[in-house]
């Protein structure tokens, strides 16, 4: 039986990957039954769609398809990891809505669609029916980033009347104001200093796994990779500011994490510090830095979702008030959760034998090549993060075994298989990294070549008066 040609067409597959989760979100909100099953099926459809898209894409242009696959897998895993207590129609619906919005942002080549996806991705965190943040800073940061992006896209449209990202490449559309607004959008959405505090707030007060998914959409890095680097390649004198801010954030947050006792905040700080490294790698303008940043994106996303998931499982089993201020000895009750926690955590901070080691190695080389002195701060931040993570691990899992539980469950089978799959990915990725790095390397080479070509044409300047080109239709 042959498959009709239109089924394998990219727009159809993208539509299915984005549309099915949205449809499932509406369905769950309506029927409110079998939420986990519907969520898993919808996420699985997105996985299949993204997988076919990735298989069809050329090696050097497969970044966004790979990210779609990654996020679909993360959502599938999060849906399975959710404790029964959290597995409500609202939670699953919100997660699926976030999945659809994020995949739309990854897949689009249109400025207006990107803006719409950006807005839709924060809707679950604004609406009280889903995961509305309980403190002001997350709301303010998410809204400010959206306003900044909307203004930047408005400026670009006014100056060029083009909505296709491909046609704007290398033109510096909107000049310095548009560039500055895009950088502001990145700073607020990514949690770059001084707008870093909202990440820990939402991690502490919000639902663990949906928050992890929001943070690991990495919309800030997406904006850098999708708009800032290709559209504004002639920004040698301005762009490093974002990199410096990212490196300062990595160190600042790493220092902040050293004394933090709330496990959720601590993991949020670690994730923020490590994901700030992604920005500095993307900005390094070296092939190894860019490739390292993209691989690190994968590592941070998988590790962070797993760490938040394990923390939530511990909260559900052992009480909500987990703390890193004293030893809780939970490894005695949950040894497999402990081992999974330590593997994901050490992958996040670059232990050899995990994919994190390769990405950190590439990132550090890229950052040091491009910024000899300030790049030294990256390994220092990573070392501090490692110490903070290990402190959290020892305090949560080691120490005198607590008693008084009637049921002391380790990882349940569905949790165990999902965590084992994640562990296998980071470990096999670490043992055979070339399979992953070589694809990201091809993309990094193209980005680096584009940057250098544009920089050679007109080094050190952002176009104040960009060229106008004819309007192109939406793809």
């Amino acid at each position: 039986m042959s498959v009709p040609g239109w089924v394998l067409h990219a727009p159809f597959l993208t539509g299915v990957s984005v549309g099915v989760p949205w449809f499932a979100a509406v369905l769950i909100t309506g029927c409110r039954r079998h939420a986990r099953i519907i969520g898993c099926v919808a996420a699985f459809v997105s996985i299949v769609g993204s997988l076919v898209l990735l298989a069809d894409a050329p090696n050097s242009e497969s970044l966004y398809q790979a990210l779609m696959l990654l996020f679909s897998c993360l959502t599938f895993s999060a849906t399975l990891l959710l404790p029964r207590r959290d597995c409500t129609a609202g939670t699953i619906g919100g997660i699926l809505f976030l999945l659809g919005s994020t995949l739309l942002a990854y897949s689009t080549g249109n400025l207006l669609v990107l803006l719409a996806a950006w807005i839709l991705s924060i809707v679950p965190f604004l609406w009280a029916g889903w995961f509305r943040a309980r403190s002001w800073r997350p709301l303010a940061s998410l809204l400010l980033s959206t306003v900044a992006l909307a203004l930047a896209i408005g400026l670009i449209l006014i100056s060029t009347s083009i909505i296709s990202i491909n046609h704007l490449k290398g033109q510096s559309p909107g000049g310095v104001p548009a560039f500055a607004l895009l950088v502001m959008a990145v700073i607020f959405r990514k949690g770059i200093c001084p707008a870093h505090a909202w990440v820990a707030d939402i991690a502490e007060t919000g639902p663990a796994l949906p928050t992890a998914l929001l943070l690991n959409g990495h919309f800030g890095a997406l904006l850098v990779a999708k708009l800032i680097v290709p559209l504004f390649p002639r920004t040698d004198s301005v762009f490093p500011v974002l990199s410096y801010l990212a490196i300062v954030t990595a160190v600042y947050v790493a220092v902040r994490a050293l004394g933090e006792n709330s496990p959720r905040r601590l993991v949020a700080f670690l994730a923020l510090s490590q994901s700030a490294c992604i920005l500095s790698g993307l900005e390094s303008r070296t092939a190894e830095g860019i490739a390292g940043a993209i691989v690190h994106w994968f590592v941070v996303a998988i590790s962070t979702v797993a760490l938040f998931g394990i923390l939530r499982l511990l909260e559900v089993r052992f009480g909500e008030n987990l703390t890193a201020s004293k030893h809780l000895g939970l490894a005695g009750h949950a040894p497999r959760l402990a081992v999974s926690f330590v593997i994901f955590g050490l992958a996040l901070v670059g232990l050899p034998g995990t994919l994190g080691f390769c990405s950190q190695d590439l990132l550090i080389h890229g950052a040091l090549t491009s910024h000899r002195l300030i790049g030294l701060l990256l390994p220092i931040a990573t070392a501090m993060n490692a110490v903070s993570f290990f402190r959290l691990f020892t305090r949560l899992f080691l120490g005198k075994r607590r008693t008084g539980f009637t049921v002391m469950a380790d990882a349940l089978p569905r949790e165990r298989w999902i965590l084992a799959a994640g562990v296998l990915f980071v470990v096999f990725g670490g043992l055979f990294p070339n399979a992953i790095v070589i694809q990201r390397s091809a993309e990094a080479d193209i980005v680096q070549e584009a940057i250098h070509t544009a920089a050679d044409t007109n080094p050190g300047k952002v176009d104040a008066h960009p060229r106008k080109v004819p309007i192109t239709a939406m793809p």
Binding site: R85, E260, L322, A331, C358, D361, G399, R416
Partner: protein
């Protein structure tokens, strides 16, 4: 791949494969029995020992065995070469690791019988052996760094082996912090070699660097070497590491891990030889550590700490030998010291029993050894020296006061800064949540 190359790959990979298989099976729910695990472990190290013997035989003519797997990963001009190499320098260390790991494993099968962490110990022992063999057989500093990190993390996890007591766990954290801080030098040093020489491989000759570049690289490599070898000013972690089980103390701090720093410097000998300043610094650190080790060791009250400081003193002397460029003397010294210390550590738990046996054999008390050299000093200086030695040279106090406390103060200041931002709009600081566990909010699996 010829016979020698296959053996080298087998020797390095065998403990790693055993670790990976057992860890994965355990993660999926299967726990092997003690007897089966120790049998597989014995078989692995025995086969590796035979492999090493064959390797020595094939390398008798002075040849070097190199196995190049290409690049582990490569991006643009940067590549991470995956090259294993057995030469006259690495072979003794490979043999030492295989033999002592096998012996310690056999000892531990009895020593840790019915211990709750039996499987964990053996898994970590395999991972440690894999990391050490990888570091010693590496044909580039990149790969050496990967093995180096594995040795570090297993070392830390074994320090905290007795996880029910807070002290070993906290000491493990301290050791981890010092390792990570010092390893920054290794990563930056490797980067510097890539940057200046285009490679950090030494399987086809050493990277070519100018005098100033060699000095910088040596100083960077000296940091992790001193950290791993517990040299001044990082010696404070060594007595803390004695909280681990005796077999791990024997293999880590009596034999392999403690000498890994010296191996790194021996590997970097061609660079050290080009820089008199770096060589002098290595000797100075070694001398200071040797003096520190012998004085503090005399004031140590327990057997394992005394042995640790005795090892430290010898490693300090090894550093001096490396500084002088006496490479093969240093290697011989390391082999002798590692073997003797392993035996002493393993006998430490039954030291009293040994003494009683010795006394009954000779028919009375052993005669005193005579005067101690410190008795030649004035009484006041003796007292001061005793207090200095009792506090282990104040090294931990200095580290706490000048590094850890300022970092924690900075962290608290930043936390306060964050909270002030919240209090402006009258929202309860999220950090103010209760910090103790009152018990599970709800019983049940989910």
């Amino acid at each position: 791949m010829n016979f020698s190359q296959a053996i080298l790959v087998f020797v390095v990979a065998a403990p790693g494969v055993v670790f990976a298989v057992f860890a994965l099976l355990w993660l999926l729910g299967w726990t092997p029995g003690e007897r089966f695990l120790s049998w597989i472990t014995g078989l692995t190290f025995a086969a590796s020992a035979f492999g090493i013997t064959a390797l020595v035989w094939t390398m008798a003519s002075g040849s070097t065995v190199t196995v190049a797997f290409g690049n582990w990963f490569a991006v643009g001009d940067y590549h991470f070469p995956l090259v294993l190499m057995a030469d006259r320098l690495s072979l003794p260390f490979l043999a030492l690791t295989v033999v002592l790991s096998g012996l310690v494993a056999q000892f531990s099968a009895t020593y840790l019988h019915r211990e709750p962490g039996f499987l964990r110990f053996f898994l970590l022992l395999h991972l440690f052996a894999f990391g050490s063999l990888l570091a010693f057989a590496a044909g580039s500093f990149d790969l050496l760094a990967a093995g180096w990190e594995l040795v570090g993390i297993t070392s830390v996890l074994l320090v905290g082996f007795f996880q029910l007591r807070p002290a070993p766990v906290e000491n493990g954290l301290r050791v981890f912090g010092i390792y990570r801080a010092c390893d920054i030098g290794l990563f930056v040093g490797v980067f510097a070699m890539h940057h200046w020489a285009g490679t950090a491989s030494f399987d086809r000759g050493f990277p070519t660097l100018t005098g100033a570049q060699a000095l910088i690289v040596c100083l960077l490599l000296l940091l992790p070497a001193a950290g791993k070898a517990a040299q001044i000013p990082f010696s404070g972690w060594l007595p803390r590491a004695m909280e681990g089980p005796t077999p791990s103390s024997a293999i880590f701090y009596g034999a392999i891990s403690i000498h890994a720093g010296a191996y790194l410097l021996l590997r970097a000998q061609p660079l050290l030889a080009r820089s008199a300043v770096a060589s002098a610094l290595v000797m100075l650190i070694g001398l200071a550590t040797a003096i520190h080790g012998t004085i503090v060791g005399r004031a140590s009250a327990d057997a394992k700490t005394s042995l640790a400081y005795a090892t430290l003193t010898q490693v300090g002397i090894v550093f001096i030998e490396i500084g002088f460029g006496w490479k093969w003397l240093a290697v011989a010294h390391i082999l002798g010291n590692a073997t003797v210390r392993t035996m002493q550590f393993l006998r430490a738990p039954s030291m009293l029993h040994d003494y009683h046996q010795m006394h009954s054999a000779i028919g009375g008390e052993v005669s005193p050894t005579g005067k101690q050299i410190e008795e030649l000093l004035p009484a006041r200086i003796q007292l001061w020296l005793y207090r200095w030695a009792f506090d282990r040279g104040h090294l931990d106090t200095i580290l706490d006061r000048w590094v850890i406390d300022p970092l924690l103060q900075a962290s608290n200041y930043l936390a306060k800064h964050d909270r002030v931002g919240m209090s402006w709009i009258a929202i309860r600081p999220s950090n103010a949540a209760p910090i103790s566990i009152q018990g599970p909010a709800k019983q049940g699996n989910d």
